[in-house]
Protein backbone atom coordinates (compact mmCIF):
# COMPACT_ATOMS: atom_id res chain seq x y z
CA UNK A 1 0.00 0.00 0.00
CA UNK A 2 1.46 3.30 -0.99
CA UNK A 3 -0.32 5.86 1.14
CA UNK A 4 -1.88 3.65 3.73
CA UNK A 5 1.55 2.85 5.07
CA UNK A 6 2.05 6.44 6.08
CA UNK A 7 -1.48 7.44 6.94
CA UNK A 8 -2.51 4.14 8.47
CA UNK A 9 -5.85 4.18 6.67
CA UNK A 10 -7.34 1.44 4.57
CA UNK A 11 -8.66 2.24 1.15
CA UNK A 12 -10.37 0.42 -1.70
CA UNK A 13 -8.15 -1.57 -4.00
CA UNK A 14 -8.78 0.54 -7.04
CA UNK A 15 -7.71 3.77 -5.33
CA UNK A 16 -4.56 2.01 -4.19
CA UNK A 17 -3.94 0.81 -7.74
CA UNK A 18 -4.50 4.30 -9.10
CA UNK A 19 -2.11 5.84 -6.57
CA UNK A 20 0.61 3.36 -7.45
CA UNK A 21 0.15 4.02 -11.14
CA UNK A 22 0.23 7.78 -10.67
CA UNK A 23 3.40 7.38 -8.64
CA UNK A 24 5.04 5.37 -11.40
CA UNK A 25 3.89 7.74 -14.15
CA UNK A 26 5.22 10.75 -12.24
CA UNK A 27 8.49 8.98 -11.52
CA UNK A 28 8.87 7.96 -15.13
CA UNK A 29 8.26 11.48 -16.43
CA UNK A 30 10.73 12.99 -13.99
CA UNK A 31 13.31 10.33 -14.83
CA UNK A 32 12.91 10.84 -18.57
CA UNK A 33 13.44 14.59 -18.20
CA UNK A 34 16.35 14.08 -15.82
CA UNK A 35 17.95 11.55 -18.15
CA UNK A 36 17.80 13.84 -21.16
CA UNK A 37 19.52 16.57 -19.15
CA UNK A 38 22.04 14.15 -17.62
CA UNK A 39 22.96 12.64 -20.95
CA UNK A 40 23.74 16.05 -22.40
CA UNK A 41 25.74 17.12 -19.38
CA UNK A 42 27.71 13.89 -18.97
CA UNK A 43 28.49 13.56 -22.66
CA UNK A 44 29.61 17.18 -22.69
CA UNK A 45 32.00 16.50 -19.82
CA UNK A 46 33.42 13.50 -21.66
CA UNK A 47 34.09 15.73 -24.64
CA UNK A 48 35.56 18.61 -22.59
CA UNK A 49 32.50 20.81 -23.07
CA UNK A 50 30.11 22.16 -20.43
CA UNK A 51 26.79 21.23 -22.05
CA UNK A 52 23.60 23.28 -21.65
CA UNK A 53 24.01 26.29 -19.34
CA UNK A 54 21.52 28.95 -20.45
CA UNK A 55 18.17 27.35 -19.62
CA UNK A 56 17.66 27.71 -15.87
CA UNK A 57 20.38 27.22 -13.26
CA UNK A 58 23.25 25.28 -14.90
CA UNK A 59 20.89 24.34 -17.69
CA UNK A 60 18.54 22.21 -15.59
CA UNK A 61 15.46 23.33 -17.49
CA UNK A 62 16.93 22.21 -20.81
CA UNK A 63 14.68 19.14 -21.01
CA UNK A 64 11.55 21.24 -20.54
CA UNK A 65 12.74 23.59 -23.25
CA UNK A 66 13.35 20.59 -25.49
CA UNK A 67 9.86 19.27 -24.82
CA UNK A 68 8.29 22.66 -25.56
CA UNK A 69 10.19 22.85 -28.80
CA UNK A 70 8.99 19.40 -29.82
CA UNK A 71 5.36 20.20 -29.03
CA UNK A 72 5.40 23.40 -31.08
CA UNK A 73 7.27 21.86 -33.99
CA UNK A 74 5.64 21.12 -37.29
CA UNK A 75 4.49 17.54 -37.62
CA UNK A 76 5.58 16.39 -41.07
CA UNK A 77 4.28 13.21 -42.58
CA UNK A 78 5.60 12.18 -46.00
CA UNK A 79 2.88 11.83 -48.63
CA UNK A 80 3.98 8.34 -49.54
CA UNK A 81 3.91 7.14 -45.94
CA UNK A 82 1.33 4.62 -44.82
CA UNK A 83 -0.85 6.81 -42.64
CA UNK A 84 -1.99 4.40 -39.95
CA UNK A 85 1.27 2.54 -39.52
CA UNK A 86 3.13 5.86 -39.41
CA UNK A 87 0.91 7.51 -36.83
CA UNK A 88 0.36 4.50 -34.57
CA UNK A 89 3.95 3.26 -34.54
CA UNK A 90 5.07 5.68 -31.76
CA UNK A 91 2.29 4.30 -29.55
CA UNK A 92 3.30 0.75 -30.37
CA UNK A 93 6.87 1.57 -29.41
CA UNK A 94 6.01 3.47 -26.23
CA UNK A 95 3.06 1.63 -24.65
CA UNK A 96 4.88 -1.72 -24.11
CA UNK A 97 7.80 0.02 -22.42
CA UNK A 98 5.32 1.77 -20.15
CA UNK A 99 3.52 -1.47 -19.28
CA UNK A 100 6.71 -3.20 -18.24
CA UNK A 101 6.77 -1.01 -15.11
CA UNK A 102 4.09 -3.21 -13.51
CA UNK A 103 6.42 -5.63 -11.66
CA UNK A 104 9.36 -3.25 -11.10
CA UNK A 105 10.17 -2.99 -7.38
CA UNK A 106 11.43 0.41 -6.23
CA UNK A 107 11.24 -0.56 -2.59
CA UNK A 108 10.07 -3.65 -0.76
CA UNK A 109 6.44 -2.54 -1.12
CA UNK A 110 6.45 0.09 -3.87
CA UNK A 111 5.55 -1.46 -7.18
CA UNK A 112 2.37 -1.48 -9.21
CA UNK A 113 1.90 -5.19 -8.78
CA UNK A 114 4.21 -8.04 -7.95
CA UNK A 115 3.65 -10.64 -10.67
CA UNK A 116 4.50 -14.30 -10.17
CA UNK A 117 6.08 -14.43 -13.59
CA UNK A 118 7.39 -10.88 -13.52
CA UNK A 119 10.65 -11.69 -15.26
CA UNK A 120 9.06 -13.41 -18.25
CA UNK A 121 6.41 -10.71 -18.37
CA UNK A 122 9.08 -8.01 -18.67
CA UNK A 123 10.76 -9.64 -21.64
CA UNK A 124 7.53 -10.64 -23.33
CA UNK A 125 6.03 -7.18 -23.24
CA UNK A 126 9.29 -5.43 -24.02
CA UNK A 127 9.50 -7.55 -27.17
CA UNK A 128 6.35 -5.78 -28.45
CA UNK A 129 8.49 -2.70 -28.86
CA UNK A 130 10.14 -4.38 -31.88
CA UNK A 131 6.79 -4.53 -33.68
CA UNK A 132 6.48 -0.76 -33.17
CA UNK A 133 9.94 -0.20 -34.59
CA UNK A 134 9.22 -2.27 -37.70
CA UNK A 135 5.87 -0.48 -38.08
CA UNK A 136 7.64 2.88 -38.01
CA UNK A 137 10.27 1.66 -40.42
CA UNK A 138 7.80 0.28 -42.91
CA UNK A 139 5.22 3.04 -42.49
CA UNK A 140 7.73 5.81 -43.26
CA UNK A 141 8.27 4.50 -46.78
CA UNK A 142 11.90 5.49 -46.59
CA UNK A 143 14.85 3.30 -47.45
CA UNK A 144 16.97 4.45 -44.56
CA UNK A 145 14.10 3.92 -42.15
CA UNK A 146 13.41 0.44 -43.47
CA UNK A 147 17.06 -0.54 -43.32
CA UNK A 148 17.45 0.86 -39.82
CA UNK A 149 14.24 -0.69 -38.59
CA UNK A 150 15.03 -4.16 -39.88
CA UNK A 151 18.51 -3.94 -38.43
CA UNK A 152 17.12 -2.74 -35.11
CA UNK A 153 14.71 -5.66 -35.00
CA UNK A 154 17.39 -8.20 -35.92
CA UNK A 155 19.73 -6.80 -33.28
CA UNK A 156 17.05 -6.72 -30.58
CA UNK A 157 16.02 -10.33 -31.17
CA UNK A 158 19.63 -11.52 -31.36
CA UNK A 159 20.51 -10.08 -27.98
CA UNK A 160 17.27 -11.12 -26.35
CA UNK A 161 18.25 -14.82 -26.37
CA UNK A 162 21.44 -14.54 -24.25
CA UNK A 163 19.55 -12.22 -21.91
CA UNK A 164 16.69 -14.68 -21.52
CA UNK A 165 19.11 -17.53 -20.85
CA UNK A 166 20.80 -15.42 -18.19
CA UNK A 167 17.37 -14.81 -16.69
CA UNK A 168 16.92 -18.58 -16.51
CA UNK A 169 20.32 -18.89 -14.80
CA UNK A 170 19.37 -16.21 -12.27
CA UNK A 171 16.02 -17.87 -11.62
CA UNK A 172 17.86 -21.15 -10.98
CA UNK A 173 20.05 -19.50 -8.37
CA UNK A 174 17.05 -17.78 -6.82
CA UNK A 175 15.01 -20.99 -6.76
CA UNK A 176 17.85 -22.86 -5.12
CA UNK A 177 18.27 -20.21 -2.44
CA UNK A 178 14.56 -19.56 -1.90
CA UNK A 179 13.92 -23.29 -1.44
CA UNK A 180 16.11 -23.11 1.67
CA UNK A 181 14.60 -20.07 3.36
CA UNK A 182 11.45 -19.09 1.53
CA UNK A 183 9.02 -20.03 -1.17
CA UNK A 184 10.82 -21.40 -4.22
CA UNK A 185 7.73 -21.03 -6.39
CA UNK A 186 8.18 -17.26 -6.19
CA UNK A 187 11.51 -17.41 -8.02
CA UNK A 188 9.96 -15.90 -11.16
CA UNK A 189 8.93 -12.74 -9.33
CA UNK A 190 11.36 -9.84 -9.43
CA UNK A 191 10.56 -8.69 -5.92
CA UNK A 192 11.21 -12.15 -4.49
CA UNK A 193 14.59 -12.21 -6.20
CA UNK A 194 15.44 -8.81 -4.74
CA UNK A 195 14.23 -9.97 -1.35
CA UNK A 196 16.64 -12.88 -1.52
CA UNK A 197 19.63 -10.58 -1.95
CA UNK A 198 19.68 -9.16 1.58
CA UNK A 199 23.06 -10.73 2.31
CA UNK A 200 24.50 -11.55 -1.10
CA UNK A 201 23.85 -9.47 -4.21
CA UNK A 202 23.62 -11.79 -7.21
CA UNK A 203 26.46 -10.02 -8.97
CA UNK A 204 28.73 -12.06 -6.68
CA UNK A 205 26.98 -15.29 -7.67
CA UNK A 206 26.52 -14.53 -11.36
CA UNK A 207 29.21 -12.08 -12.52
CA UNK A 208 28.99 -13.47 -16.06
CA UNK A 209 25.23 -13.02 -15.94
CA UNK A 210 25.61 -9.38 -14.97
CA UNK A 211 28.08 -8.77 -17.78
CA UNK A 212 25.90 -10.41 -20.43
CA UNK A 213 22.83 -8.62 -19.10
CA UNK A 214 24.53 -5.23 -19.38
CA UNK A 215 25.69 -5.98 -22.93
CA UNK A 216 22.23 -7.20 -23.91
CA UNK A 217 20.73 -4.12 -22.30
CA UNK A 218 22.93 -1.78 -24.34
CA UNK A 219 22.00 -3.70 -27.49
CA UNK A 220 18.26 -3.66 -26.76
CA UNK A 221 18.44 0.08 -26.17
CA UNK A 222 20.49 0.65 -29.35
CA UNK A 223 23.11 2.32 -27.23
CA UNK A 224 26.70 2.60 -28.37
CA UNK A 225 28.62 0.44 -29.13
CA UNK A 226 25.45 -1.23 -30.44
CA UNK A 227 23.86 1.79 -32.13
CA UNK A 228 24.22 0.55 -35.69
CA UNK A 229 20.45 0.62 -36.41
CA UNK A 230 20.10 4.27 -35.45
CA UNK A 231 23.53 5.48 -36.56
CA UNK A 232 23.37 8.93 -38.14
CA UNK A 233 26.32 8.38 -40.43
CA UNK A 234 25.03 5.08 -41.80
CA UNK A 235 21.25 5.22 -41.90
CA UNK A 236 20.62 8.89 -40.92
CA UNK A 237 18.86 8.09 -37.66
CA UNK A 238 17.29 4.78 -38.62
CA UNK A 239 13.65 3.96 -38.25
CA UNK A 240 12.52 7.39 -37.04
CA UNK A 241 14.19 9.39 -39.82
CA UNK A 242 10.84 10.64 -41.17
CA UNK A 243 9.40 11.56 -37.79
CA UNK A 244 9.34 15.07 -36.43
CA UNK A 245 7.78 16.97 -33.57
CA UNK A 246 6.03 15.12 -30.81
CA UNK A 247 5.84 11.77 -32.61
CA UNK A 248 9.61 11.74 -32.78
CA UNK A 249 9.59 12.78 -29.13
CA UNK A 250 7.58 9.69 -28.28
CA UNK A 251 10.30 7.44 -29.67
CA UNK A 252 12.77 9.41 -27.63
CA UNK A 253 10.63 9.07 -24.52
CA UNK A 254 10.28 5.34 -25.12
CA UNK A 255 14.04 5.02 -25.39
CA UNK A 256 14.77 6.84 -22.15
CA UNK A 257 11.96 5.07 -20.32
CA UNK A 258 13.34 1.73 -21.49
CA UNK A 259 16.80 2.78 -20.33
CA UNK A 260 15.52 3.60 -16.86
CA UNK A 261 13.48 0.43 -16.77
CA UNK A 262 16.23 -1.95 -17.79
CA UNK A 263 18.64 -0.29 -15.38
CA UNK A 264 16.15 -0.80 -12.54
CA UNK A 265 15.78 -4.41 -13.65
CA UNK A 266 19.53 -4.95 -13.75
CA UNK A 267 19.97 -3.41 -10.32
CA UNK A 268 17.10 -5.56 -8.99
CA UNK A 269 18.50 -8.78 -10.40
CA UNK A 270 22.18 -8.33 -9.72
CA UNK A 271 22.87 -5.43 -7.38
CA UNK A 272 20.27 -6.22 -4.75
CA UNK A 273 17.76 -3.50 -5.75
CA UNK A 274 16.45 -1.83 -2.61
CA UNK A 275 18.71 -3.78 -0.24
CA UNK A 276 21.53 -2.30 1.73
CA UNK A 277 24.48 -4.45 0.71
CA UNK A 278 25.40 -7.34 2.98
CA UNK A 279 22.52 -7.68 5.26
CA UNK A 280 21.38 -4.56 7.09
CA UNK A 281 17.62 -4.11 7.36
CA UNK A 282 16.67 -0.63 6.20
CA UNK A 283 13.45 1.36 6.14
CA UNK A 284 11.32 2.49 3.24
CA UNK A 285 13.00 5.87 2.84
CA UNK A 286 16.49 4.46 2.60
CA UNK A 287 15.31 1.68 0.28
CA UNK A 288 14.19 4.13 -2.35
CA UNK A 289 17.41 6.08 -1.97
CA UNK A 290 19.37 2.86 -2.49
CA UNK A 291 17.40 2.01 -5.62
CA UNK A 292 18.17 5.41 -7.03
CA UNK A 293 21.83 5.34 -6.10
CA UNK A 294 22.30 1.97 -7.79
CA UNK A 295 20.35 2.94 -10.88
CA UNK A 296 22.11 6.31 -11.16
CA UNK A 297 25.55 4.70 -11.13
CA UNK A 298 24.50 2.35 -13.90
CA UNK A 299 22.86 5.13 -15.90
CA UNK A 300 26.10 7.12 -15.80
CA UNK A 301 27.94 4.03 -17.06
CA UNK A 302 25.44 3.53 -19.88
CA UNK A 303 25.61 7.17 -20.94
CA UNK A 304 29.37 7.10 -20.63
CA UNK A 305 29.55 4.11 -22.96
CA UNK A 306 28.31 6.42 -25.70
CA UNK A 307 31.44 8.51 -25.36
CA UNK A 308 33.83 5.65 -24.73
CA UNK A 309 33.21 2.96 -27.34
CA UNK A 310 33.37 2.95 -31.13
CA UNK A 311 30.46 1.57 -33.12
CA UNK A 312 30.34 -2.10 -34.11
CA UNK A 313 29.60 -3.25 -37.64
CA UNK A 314 26.39 -5.20 -38.26
CA UNK A 315 28.23 -8.50 -38.86
CA UNK A 316 30.28 -8.01 -35.69
CA UNK A 317 27.06 -7.30 -33.79
CA UNK A 318 25.42 -10.48 -34.96
CA UNK A 319 28.47 -12.70 -34.53
CA UNK A 320 29.09 -11.42 -31.02
CA UNK A 321 25.60 -12.35 -29.92
CA UNK A 322 25.26 -15.73 -31.63
CA UNK A 323 28.83 -16.99 -31.45
CA UNK A 324 30.08 -15.61 -28.15
CA UNK A 325 27.27 -14.62 -25.82
CA UNK A 326 24.85 -17.44 -26.68
CA UNK A 327 27.30 -20.36 -26.06
CA UNK A 328 28.55 -18.70 -22.89
CA UNK A 329 25.06 -18.17 -21.51
CA UNK A 330 24.13 -21.78 -22.34
CA UNK A 331 27.26 -22.96 -20.51
CA UNK A 332 26.31 -20.75 -17.56
CA UNK A 333 22.84 -22.33 -17.40
CA UNK A 334 24.34 -25.85 -17.55
CA UNK A 335 26.94 -25.03 -14.91
CA UNK A 336 24.30 -23.60 -12.58
CA UNK A 337 22.13 -26.65 -13.16
CA UNK A 338 24.88 -29.13 -12.31
CA UNK A 339 26.08 -27.26 -9.23
CA UNK A 340 22.63 -26.48 -7.84
CA UNK A 341 21.06 -29.88 -8.55
CA UNK A 342 23.75 -31.45 -6.37
CA UNK A 343 23.29 -28.78 -3.71
CA UNK A 344 26.62 -27.06 -4.25
CA UNK A 345 27.35 -24.06 -2.03
CA UNK A 346 26.96 -20.48 -3.23
CA UNK A 347 30.63 -19.75 -3.47
CA UNK A 348 31.08 -22.52 -6.06
CA UNK A 349 28.32 -20.97 -8.20
CA UNK A 350 30.02 -17.59 -7.94
CA UNK A 351 33.49 -18.95 -8.63
CA UNK A 352 32.40 -20.92 -11.72
CA UNK A 353 30.54 -17.90 -13.09
CA UNK A 354 33.55 -15.71 -12.46
CA UNK A 355 35.77 -18.25 -14.20
CA UNK A 356 33.43 -18.17 -17.21
CA UNK A 357 33.54 -14.38 -17.21
CA UNK A 358 37.35 -14.45 -17.27
CA UNK A 359 37.21 -16.99 -20.12
CA UNK A 360 34.81 -14.74 -22.03
CA UNK A 361 37.06 -11.74 -21.52
CA UNK A 362 40.09 -13.72 -22.65
CA UNK A 363 38.29 -15.00 -25.73
CA UNK A 364 37.13 -11.52 -26.77
CA UNK A 365 40.65 -10.16 -26.24
CA UNK A 366 42.14 -13.01 -28.29
CA UNK A 367 39.68 -12.56 -31.18
CA UNK A 368 40.16 -8.81 -31.26
CA UNK A 369 43.94 -8.93 -31.17
CA UNK A 370 43.98 -11.59 -33.88
CA UNK A 371 41.54 -9.64 -36.09
CA UNK A 372 43.59 -6.48 -35.74
CA UNK A 373 46.78 -8.29 -36.75
CA UNK A 374 45.06 -9.78 -39.80
CA UNK A 375 43.65 -6.43 -40.82
CA UNK A 376 47.05 -4.78 -40.64
CA UNK A 377 48.65 -7.51 -42.75
CA UNK A 378 45.92 -7.35 -45.38
CA UNK A 379 46.39 -3.63 -45.81
CA UNK A 380 50.12 -3.94 -46.17
CA UNK A 381 50.57 -6.92 -48.47
CA UNK A 382 47.58 -7.94 -50.59
CA UNK A 383 46.46 -5.58 -53.35
CA UNK A 384 42.78 -4.77 -53.36
CA UNK A 385 40.98 -7.29 -55.53
CA UNK A 386 38.12 -5.79 -57.56
CA UNK A 387 34.78 -6.93 -56.28
CA UNK A 388 32.51 -8.27 -58.98
CA UNK A 389 28.85 -7.65 -58.63
CA UNK A 390 26.44 -9.73 -60.63
CA UNK A 391 24.46 -7.22 -62.58
CA UNK A 392 20.90 -8.68 -62.46
CA UNK A 393 21.14 -9.11 -58.71
CA UNK A 394 21.34 -5.38 -58.13
CA UNK A 395 18.37 -4.20 -56.16
CA UNK A 396 16.91 -0.71 -56.05
CA UNK A 397 18.70 0.07 -52.82
CA UNK A 398 22.03 -0.47 -54.46
CA UNK A 399 21.00 1.30 -57.60
CA UNK A 400 19.56 4.39 -55.98
CA UNK A 401 20.40 4.26 -52.32
CA UNK A 402 24.03 5.04 -52.46
Amino acid sequence: MVLSEFAGVSMPDWIDALLRIIFIVALMTIMAFALIYLERKILARFQARVGPTRTGPIGTLQSIADALKLVTKEDVRPITADRWAFELAPYMAFVPVFLVFVPMPFTETWFIRDLNLGLLFVFGVLGLNIVGVVMAAWGSDNKYALLGGVRAAAQAISYEIPMLLIIVAVVMVAAGRLAVDGDASAAGSINAIVGDQTTTPYILLQPLGFFIFIIGMLAELHRPPFDMPIAESEVVGGYFVEYSGMRWGMFFLAEYTALFLLVVLASSLFLGGWNWPFGADVGLGLQIVLTFVKTSVMIVLVIGSRALFPRLRIDQLMSFSWKVLLPFSIVQVIANGIILAYGGPDWVVGLVSFGLLVALGGLVYYIMSRKQGEGARTVQTTPATPRVITAPEVTPVEAGGD
Binding site: W14, A17, L18, R20, I21, I24, V25, L70, V71, T72, K73, E74, D75, V76, P78, T80, V95, L99, F101, V102, R113, L115, N116, W138, N142, K143, L146, V150, A154, I157, S158, L164, L165, I167, V171, A175, G176, A184, A187, V236, V241, G245, R247, G249, M250, L253, I314, D315, M318, S319, W322, K323, L326, P327, I330, I338, Y342, P396, A399, G400
Partner: protein, 126 residues
Protein backbone atom coordinates in the same frame (compact mmCIF):
# COMPACT_ATOMS: atom_id res chain seq x y z
CA UNK B 1 -5.23 -16.77 -2.47
CA UNK B 2 -6.01 -14.29 -5.17
CA UNK B 3 -7.21 -14.73 -8.69
CA UNK B 4 -4.69 -14.40 -11.50
CA UNK B 5 -6.90 -12.01 -13.44
CA UNK B 6 -6.98 -9.75 -10.39
CA UNK B 7 -3.19 -9.60 -10.45
CA UNK B 8 -3.30 -8.32 -13.97
CA UNK B 9 -6.15 -5.86 -13.38
CA UNK B 10 -3.48 -3.25 -12.61
CA UNK B 11 -2.08 -3.93 -16.04
CA UNK B 12 -5.44 -3.06 -17.57
CA UNK B 13 -5.61 0.24 -15.68
CA UNK B 14 -2.02 1.01 -16.62
CA UNK B 15 -2.83 0.29 -20.26
CA UNK B 16 -5.39 3.09 -20.22
CA UNK B 17 -2.80 5.41 -18.70
CA UNK B 18 -0.23 4.26 -21.21
CA UNK B 19 -2.55 5.18 -24.06
CA UNK B 20 -3.50 8.56 -22.57
CA UNK B 21 -0.04 9.62 -21.42
CA UNK B 22 1.66 9.95 -24.82
CA UNK B 23 -1.54 11.36 -26.31
CA UNK B 24 -1.41 14.42 -24.03
CA UNK B 25 1.57 16.06 -25.75
CA UNK B 26 0.02 15.21 -29.11
CA UNK B 27 -3.20 16.91 -28.04
CA UNK B 28 -1.18 19.86 -26.74
CA UNK B 29 0.61 19.98 -30.05
CA UNK B 30 -2.72 20.01 -31.87
CA UNK B 31 -3.99 22.77 -29.58
CA UNK B 32 -0.90 24.83 -30.32
CA UNK B 33 -1.70 24.43 -33.98
CA UNK B 34 -5.28 25.61 -33.41
CA UNK B 35 -4.03 28.71 -31.60
CA UNK B 36 -1.57 29.39 -34.36
CA UNK B 37 1.54 28.71 -32.30
CA UNK B 38 2.61 25.67 -34.30
CA UNK B 39 3.28 25.97 -38.01
CA UNK B 40 1.87 23.68 -40.62
CA UNK B 41 2.99 24.57 -44.07
CA UNK B 42 3.36 21.40 -46.09
CA UNK B 43 4.83 21.65 -49.54
CA UNK B 44 5.86 19.13 -52.14
CA UNK B 45 9.52 19.10 -51.17
CA UNK B 46 8.89 18.91 -47.44
CA UNK B 47 6.45 16.02 -47.68
CA UNK B 48 8.73 14.11 -49.95
CA UNK B 49 10.67 11.09 -48.76
CA UNK B 50 13.88 12.21 -47.09
CA UNK B 51 16.99 10.89 -48.69
CA UNK B 52 19.83 13.31 -48.04
CA UNK B 53 18.73 15.72 -50.72
CA UNK B 54 18.48 13.38 -53.68
CA UNK B 55 15.19 12.14 -55.03
CA UNK B 56 14.36 8.61 -54.04
CA UNK B 57 14.47 6.11 -56.83
CA UNK B 58 12.59 2.88 -57.29
CA UNK B 59 10.36 1.17 -54.75
CA UNK B 60 11.29 1.55 -51.09
CA UNK B 61 10.42 -1.98 -50.33
CA UNK B 62 13.29 -3.98 -51.69
CA UNK B 63 13.84 -7.63 -51.14
CA UNK B 64 15.82 -8.15 -47.97
CA UNK B 65 18.71 -10.38 -47.14
CA UNK B 66 17.66 -13.92 -46.31
CA UNK B 67 19.84 -13.75 -43.19
CA UNK B 68 17.25 -11.66 -41.41
CA UNK B 69 14.66 -14.38 -41.78
CA UNK B 70 17.15 -16.99 -40.62
CA UNK B 71 18.03 -14.95 -37.56
CA UNK B 72 14.36 -14.50 -36.71
CA UNK B 73 13.76 -18.23 -37.11
CA UNK B 74 16.70 -19.17 -34.88
CA UNK B 75 15.43 -16.59 -32.41
CA UNK B 76 12.02 -18.26 -32.27
CA UNK B 77 13.59 -21.66 -31.67
CA UNK B 78 15.82 -20.49 -28.84
CA UNK B 79 12.95 -18.49 -27.38
CA UNK B 80 11.00 -21.74 -27.18
CA UNK B 81 14.01 -23.39 -25.55
CA UNK B 82 14.05 -20.71 -22.87
CA UNK B 83 10.32 -21.18 -22.31
CA UNK B 84 10.90 -24.89 -21.70
CA UNK B 85 13.84 -24.28 -19.39
CA UNK B 86 12.14 -21.59 -17.31
CA UNK B 87 9.65 -23.89 -15.50
CA UNK B 88 12.47 -26.32 -14.80
CA UNK B 89 14.55 -23.50 -13.35
CA UNK B 90 11.72 -22.41 -11.05
CA UNK B 91 11.14 -26.02 -9.96
CA UNK B 92 14.87 -26.61 -9.52
CA UNK B 93 14.70 -27.87 -5.93
CA UNK B 94 11.98 -30.43 -6.62
CA UNK B 95 13.08 -31.85 -9.98
CA UNK B 96 16.79 -32.03 -9.06
CA UNK B 97 18.81 -34.74 -10.80
CA UNK B 98 16.06 -36.15 -13.07
CA UNK B 99 15.32 -32.61 -14.16
CA UNK B 100 18.99 -31.91 -14.63
CA UNK B 101 19.49 -34.92 -16.90
CA UNK B 102 16.36 -34.13 -18.91
CA UNK B 103 17.39 -30.50 -19.27
CA UNK B 104 20.94 -31.47 -20.22
CA UNK B 105 19.68 -33.74 -23.01
CA UNK B 106 17.30 -30.98 -24.13
CA UNK B 107 20.06 -28.38 -24.21
CA UNK B 108 22.53 -30.81 -25.80
CA UNK B 109 20.18 -31.55 -28.72
CA UNK B 110 19.64 -27.85 -29.34
CA UNK B 111 23.33 -27.10 -28.88
CA UNK B 112 23.99 -29.70 -31.57
CA UNK B 113 21.68 -27.70 -33.81
CA UNK B 114 23.64 -24.57 -33.02
CA UNK B 115 26.94 -26.31 -33.79
CA UNK B 116 25.55 -27.59 -37.10
CA UNK B 117 24.37 -24.13 -37.95
CA UNK B 118 27.77 -22.72 -37.08
CA UNK B 119 29.57 -25.31 -39.19
CA UNK B 120 27.28 -24.62 -42.16
CA UNK B 121 28.17 -20.96 -41.73
CA UNK B 122 24.58 -19.90 -41.24
CA UNK B 123 25.78 -17.53 -38.54
CA UNK B 124 28.06 -15.65 -40.90
CA UNK B 125 26.62 -12.28 -41.76
CA UNK B 126 27.41 -11.49 -45.36
Amino acid sequence: MENVLEQYAHLGILLIFAAIFPSLPLIASWAFFKFGLRPRMPNAVKSDTYECGVETEGPTWVQFNFRYYLVALIFVLFDVEVIFLFPLAVALDSVVVTGLVAALIFIAVLFLGLVYEWRRQALEWR
